[in-house]
Symmetry: C2
Subunit: 274 residues, 2 copies
């Protein structure tokens, strides 16, 4: 069976793909390449200012898909954990102002606490944030990261684990963000995507290069690696998700390239492969 | 609850920890440090010759725990796959000659085929090897590797997945090899270890450094990272495994160090932490 391609209108540029651009430049890049949506990062919003960022996306008529990203919840002291939750409330405020589809959470890793304690801190942190986010009209998107990040970025390492936490809340408040790079290895991935039905808030694409050049900055552009992206995208569609598809490339070589060429390239690959 | 330490008699030196040593030097290193067991690698046996390797371990009275490792099963052509299975039969012969406790299998990754095809090749390859190994009196140990190796080394990325294949065979013929580095991230790890009861053939220890210096050669010595090794070891004991505990350190810095100092250091850390 030849799966249908995703409609080009679903393409969203995740701003981390073009770190040389500020918010305004990224917005204009989307316009030049007919990309209707963008995912913004908080450090870029901080550089531009929230009001200016709002003005840029508003004037361009772009939709904001994700706001990336909430602060990690695991930390050594109660004071630090409180500060992280407070900062996550500021992230909620920004997501609300931007009308973002979801606030993406990278929940924090086992270090410097322990994997068991970190899991508790994550559950507790989300519980502390949910009602604030709900009141602001912001949905919290739990993104399971690849297990190689369990030590330092996210103890949520599988869709299963993210769904276990999300299931404590209505999916109008907490859902999951699925990224092919993080989930492609899982032998239960198709069952887990089906289980996530109704709770998928965002879908991210990139590729897994062989050999992997770097743990954090080694992701590839779609088609350059081994992920069967279209099958995963079709499974996500089948689970009822018809929203935007963000291209999110953490890769030093991509980052060092001309952003305009990168965006042209990913748009073409999106049309051919996603 | 303070868990009891593992008995020093269970320590086995996995030879990959000291790649500057040949078989004879590794055997004598074990003797100097009162380590009763060793896991050998095939490329080192090939360098020394099987007869000479046998003579070394026999004279020293060491037990051979693992033979590392079988060839990967995933390959593009039927001819290559046949050649890999033939080579695995030679690995079985060596394991039989050495009286090794298990032949450890790193089964192969998604590349250059696809993750779905690779999984079939792995199932088929093991099926093709089992009766030969059984006739030779050799147990096949399926080692799930960390999911970051799913693309290029092992589509078996979880204990669950390894047990699914192992459960097709009597556990006198096929079992699992558990390595803390590969399994520590799994939120179901304790349940999965309990499920593996009766089928655990070997147990490996090292540590997960933060940040991870390298995907392949970035493992730490026990105590230098974030893994709660003793809890995992106690769970493995609880699952009925009372065999050897191999220290297997894939780490360039360790490899560049004086092997005798490395072995002294890991023996001490084993006594303190495992």
């Amino acid at each position: 069976v030849r799966l249908l391609l995703a409609h080009r209108d679903r393409l969203s540029l995740n701003q981390i793909t073009t770190p040389r651009w500020n918010v305004s430049e990224a917005v204009h890049g989307c316009l030049r390449h007919n990309i209707p949506s963008i995912a913004l990062w908080r450090h870029k919003i901080a550089d531009a200012g929230l009001a200016e960022s709002l003005r840029c996306v508003g004037e361009a008529g772009l939709r904001v898909t994700s706001l990336c990203r909430g602060e990690m919840f695991s930390a050594s002291t109660a004071q630090e954990r409180k500060a992280l939750i407070d900062d996550n409330c500021r992230a909620v405020d920004e997501a609300a102002a931007l009308g973002a589809n979801a606030l993406v959470m990278v929940v924090g890793g086992a270090s410097p606490v322990s994997i068991v304690d970190a899991r508790h801190m994550v559950s507790d942190g989300i519980a502390a944030l949910v009602s604030y986010a709900h009141d602001a009209g912001v949905r919290i998107g739990l993104e399971p990261l690849h297990p190689m990040f369990a030590a330092d970025r996210s103890v949520l390492a599988t869709i299963d684990e993210a769904l276990k936490i999300a299931s404590n809340y209505p999916n109008t408040q907490v859902g999951v963000v699925l990224d092919v790079f993080h989930i492609c290895w899982d032998h239960n991935v198709f069952e887990q995507i089906a289980r996530a039905s109704g709770g998928i808030l965002e879908f991210h694409v990139s590729d897994w290069l062989v050999p992997l050049p770097d743990i954090l900055l080694g992701r590839g552009i779609m088609g350059d690696g081994i992920i069967d992206i279209r099958s995963l995208r079709a499974a996500v569609d089948q689970a009822g998700y018809h929203g935007s598809i963000e291209v999110e490339i953490f890769n030093q070589t991509t980052w060092d390239s001309d952003p305009d060429e990168v965006v042209g390239h990913i748009a073409q690959r999106f049309e051919e492969l996603v």
